[in-house]
Amino acid sequence: MKKLAILAVGTALFLSAVPLWAHHAFAAEFDAKKPVKLRGTVTRFEMINPHSWLHIDVKGPDGKTTEWMVEGGSPNALFRRGININTVPVGTEILVDGYQAKDGANRAVGSDLTFPDGKRLFMGSSSPDSPDANRSK
């Protein structure tokens, strides 16, 4: 059975038939063929326009830490859905499901986040455009 304790918040991106992501197209910046799963610690949450960015330190199997940036929805859209700067405090351990930047840099668009207690948070990213159906269960 799926966990019912779910914190699912999202942006108004779903709200109408108007193009979902008016600011830029998912495919211009990210690669739907590069899904990533990043486990890391939040170092900074930039609630800036036109997109918010979550910075995380990801520890690899070799113990080496790499910095990643994860794109999310616009702050005004996130605020309306109850996300603020305190929702993902610095130091939070987090699992990010997303898609990597086309240029191969340590940047991704955040599809969703999972907290250590299993609660999940939808970041309001542009990734609904991308194939979600085959994601791991």
């Binding site: 108004a12 991106l13 109408s16 211009a28 990210f30 800036i48 997109h51």
Partner: protein, 330 residues
């Protein structure tokens, strides 16, 4: 248990949609003033009908009428109810389809009021925002088609060749005329003696409209949002905008476009927004639309679009990566 959530939610969504249907029927919404003809708008600080407040122009009415509806401008109450049922069935089918997949609960957007059905929008029985028997934007004149075809195309060569929306100049919803936009479709009106100001949340620009009777700017001065002048006709604010540039066409318009907007407070909770677009260099005749705005709580959130536009750099570097990959294949 696993099946319960989406089904319950779909039922709730259906109920929400169905419950709102009778309201359409009783109010006769979509026809100005018909909801409550006896109601008189409160006065603003300038003594005129008070338009001030925060409003949403979100709507489920399409801009253009579906072709199969012909000249039919309004749905009947029975058709509204049937449409609502169809939408509810669709939502239920989607929920059922999602069930069993990873997204079943997490992306059941009905559950957390994230769907169109749960966003505040003014009820309307209109079949399209564009009014009249056509219900569609008239076809572009041949000269306008030629002009459109000659416009520079956006490319990935530089930030300067990316679309204006992506560059945070402005979005096409801002107008005038002001159109609903996919998310945060909100605006605030502030009204005082001699001026009315309108800020649209997406993407932050403020229209400052003199209502003191001053003339338009000379015709050689052209502005992104044109040059607006307002006056009152009874309780309706009428705004005429001219002096557009040729650089941000509205549906193929030229710099000769003239937009006349009318704002009428129709109830404590609503403003009727009408506009007529005229541009003899683009369309054979004028066309008009009507959008209902609903009052929402609170103010706007700031959308300072360009405070951290990492996306632009990423888009350009993504294009370079694509080019390198294509070159390597050769």
């Amino acid at each position: 248990m696993k099946h319960r959530i989406p089904v319950t939610v779909a039922a709730l969504a259906a109920a929400t949609i169905l419950m709102t249907a009778p309201a359409f029927a009783q109010g006769g919404a979509g026809v100005k003033g018909s909801a409550n003809a006896a109601w008189k708008a409160p006065r603003g600080a300038d003594g005129h009908a008070d338009l001030s407040g925060t409003w949403t122009n979100a709507t489920s009415v399409p801009v253009e009428r579906p072709k199969e509806l012909g000249a039919k401008e309004f749905y009947t109450p029975e058709e509204m109810a049937a449409n609502a049922k169809k939408a509810a069935d669709r939502a239920a089918a989607q929920a059922a389809q999602a069930e069993g997949g990873d997204l079943a609960v997490h992306y059941d957007t009905n559950q957390f009021s994230l769907t169109g059905a749960s966003q505040k929008r003014a009820p309307s029985m209109r079949t399209s925002l564009i009014t009249g028997p056509e219900g569609r934007v008239p076809p572009l004149l041949p000269a306008a088609q030629k002009r459109q075809a000659a416009r520079p195309r956006s490319t990935f060569d530089s930030y300067e060749t990316r679309p204006l929306a992506e560059r945070c100049y402005f979005w096409p919803n801002e107008g005038p005329p002001m159109m609903p936009v996919g998310y945060n479709s909100n605006l605030q009106i502030i009204q005082g003696p001699g001026f009315v100001a309108i800020e649209q949340e997406m993407i932050h620009d403020v229209r400052i409209i003199p209502t003191d009777g001053r003339p338009h700017l000379p015709s050689n001065i052209r502005q992104w949002f044109g040059d607006a002048r307002g006056h009152w006709e009874g309780d309706t604010l009428v705004v005429e905008t001219t002096n557009f540039t040729d650089r941000n066409p509205f549906r193929g318009s030229s710099d000769q476009m003239k937009v006349v907007e009318k704002f009428t407070r129709s109830s404590p909770d609503s403003v009727v927004y009408e506009f007529t677009v005229t541009d003899p260099a683009t369309w054979e005749k004028s066309w008009s639309a009507e959008i209902q705005m609903s009052k929402i709580d609170g103010g706007l959130y700031e959308y300072a679009c360009h405070e951290g536009n990492y996306g632009m750099a990423n888009i350009l570097s993504g294009a370079r990566a694509d080019e390198a990959a294509a070159a390597a294949k050769k």
